[in-house]
Amino acid sequence: MLDGTKPLVRVDDLKMHFPIFKGVLRRRVGEVKAVDGVSFEIYEGETLGLVGESGCGKSTVGRALLRLYDITDGHIEIDGSDISTLSGEALRDMRPRMQMIFQDPQASLNPRMTVGSIIAEPLDEHTNLTRKEKREKVAKLMDAVGLARRFADRYPHEFSGGQRQRIGIARALALNPKFIVCDEPIAALDVSIQAQVVNLLEDLQQEFGLTYLFISHDLSMVRHLATRVAVMYLGKIAELAPRDALYADPKHPYTQALLSAVPHPDPAGDRQHERIILKGDVPSPANPPKGCNFCTRCPKVMEICRSETPEWREVDAGRFVACHLYN
């Protein structure tokens, strides 16, 4: 599999808590534990899929990884340098190596800037290229993502959703990053356009040797795109495994339920997995349950789950699960 390749990103016990302030004096009364101790590695050239439902903290992981937040605790190492406590100029020097593609292409592009200047902005910030060199680079980037060069003087509102996402991708590529966090890049697009963007992401990965963290709630798209998949639930990773192993034989009861809940576009075919309907809703991350996070909805819950937090352990080669069933 991936033996011999080295991890490009290493995350160790990452915690991101957001304080809750209340009352006239805005006293700190608690915290939302959006990410509460996650550890994983991303190998060079691979795509790690990070899936989970809304509010599970998957986007927060992506943002914390790029240090868009000051993290509460833990360590993040990207390309050999520890960035968990960097700030100011030192952090800024790291930025060209790691970039992000956002979910909403409408909201992440400045409506008052032309496409050309949006794509050139990272170059303005981080390089000393001449104006002519920048224009040349922008044209190359637009070729790479499949936008016609003559669109460089147009504004974002003149483009469709899929094309806007291409602009966002071109901007992320401008500084030749090694690592890109894709935060639900296709969630806002139609099915027929989703495939175009996913194919583009795959081509670019091949061409530029990129490493992706692909955050999504779309389990079938992650199956297509990812090398390994991590499943998050309420601020923690429940299971991490190579793609085929995870989809063929999910270990964690939450992964099992999640996979079985995906509607199957074939009314005649038999399902591989029995449909598991979870009861109730996800608890609030401000007040997670004692013991295992999933114990309030787990169909296989045991006594121990309500009192002790399950350990994050490797149950098989490359397969990690946090569940008492596998002790």
């Binding site: 439902e53 809304s54 469709s160 899929g162 139609d190 099915v191 027929s192 356009i193 989703q194 495939a195 175009q196 996913v198 194919n199 795959e202 709630h217 389990l219 079938s220 798209m221 199956r223 297509h224 989809y247 339920a257 999640l258 996979l259 079985s260 809940a261 995906v262 509607p263 199957h264 576009p265 074939d266 009314p267 005649a268 399902r271 591989q272 997995h273 449909r275 309907i277 979870l278 809703d281 996800v282």
Partner: protein
């Protein structure tokens, strides 16, 4: 009801346009379908394909102007909807035809508690007293699986989670025992595990109450799970229509076939590369005179670029609007 086999809803050749500052937008271009009592019709299409506008047109829920229903007939339970007075329409909306919208947060009123919003249709449409409506409201919340219904009636929408709010919406839509329930992307804003709960609930309610449902979605997976029949929309027209199993086993229109092929699945073989439909959907600034899908269609030939195909019956209650025949790989003889 007229007789056992009568359709509860018949729509023929419906046309809706929007008069905007930048010219006309032809959102719905001659849509025809029917709905039998107790049946679930799935309407699939991408954003801008006219699926929501079609349903809004049925009950004149669109702002007019800019919207304008230019033609077609709508028959609900033997009565002509287009000729109905505003008063009669008001009794139809939420009374005989229930509506569930995509986003339960924006379609519930944040300043009234859920009990009030549930009792409103009961009092207006059914003329119930406050006390009777309260009892019925509690039953409805129990019906859609909200625990501790009595107490929850006093809660406001923001106190419910997304899935629970959608259950409240369903309860309101069901309040007056509608003959038809129109659900516009009711699970799109929800997570998969919550979506699975709602789909189970709808299956269950259909068995108990037996109303006909029109389910609008862009997710072919959801349609495969719950629909009896499916209509696929593209550029304001129904391009293919068939019973659900027939459609998935034997798709005829290149657009339907491409949609099914582009979908990655969580089970079964995995393609190395996703097939994609190149190009963009049409802008709809003119009424269609050619096949609207032709510029993106890999099978298109001359006739597709000059004539707009009508829906052709291909057997098994299956019809398709396409000049190309997938069985021969050439033009269809019609």
């Amino acid at each position: 009801m007229l007789d056992q086999n009568a359709n509860v809803l018949d729509v023929a050749n419906l046309k809706t346009v929007f008069n905007t500052r930048d010219g006309m937008v032809h959102a719905v271009n001659g849509v025809s379908f029917s709905l039998a009592p107790g049946e679930l019709l799935g309407i699939v299409g991408e954003s801008g394909s006219g699926k929501s506008v079609t349903m809004m047109s049925l009950l004149k829920l669109l702002p007019m102007p800019p919207a304008e229903i230019q033609g077609g007939s709508i028959t609900f339970d033997g009565q002509d909807v287009r000729a109905m007075s505003e008063d009669r329409l008001r009794r139809l909306r939420g009374g005989e035809i229930g509506f569930i919208f995509q986003d339960p947060m924006t379609s519930l009123n944040p300043v009234f508690n859920v009990g009030f919003q549930l009792m409103e249709p009961l009092r207006v449409h059914m003329g119930m007293s406050k006390a009777a409506a309260r009892v019925r409201a509690k039953e409805l919340l129990e019906l859609v699986g909200i625990p501790d219904a009595e107490r929850r009636l006093k809660d406001f929408p923001h106190q419910f989670s997304g899935g629970m709010r959608q259950r409240v919406m369903i309860a309101i839509a069901l309040a007056c025992d509608p003959k038809v329930l129109i659900a516009d992307e009711p699970t799109t804003a929800l997570d998969v595990t919550i979506q699975a709960q709602i789909l189970e609930l709808i299956k269950d309610l259909r068995e108990k109450l037996g109303m006909a449902i029109i389910w609008i979605t862009h997710d072919l997976g959801v349609v495969a799970e719950i629909a009896d029949r499916v209509a696929v929309m593209y550029a304001g027209q129904i391009v293919e229509h068939a019973p659900v199993k027939e459609l998935f086993r034997n798709p005829q229109h290149p657009y339907t076939r491409a949609l099914l092929e582009t979908l990655p699945k969580v089970e079964g073989p995995r393609n190395e590369r996703l097939l994609s439909i190149e190009g963009q959907p049409p802008s709809l600034s003119e009424a269609p005179s050619t096949c609207e899908f032709a510029p993106r269609c890999k099978y298109a030939f001359d006739k597709c670029r000059t004539d707009n195909p009508a829906r052709i019956e291909v057997g098994n209650s299956h019809d398709v609007a396409c000049w190309w025949d997938p069985t021969t790989g050439g033009p269809r003889d019609a």
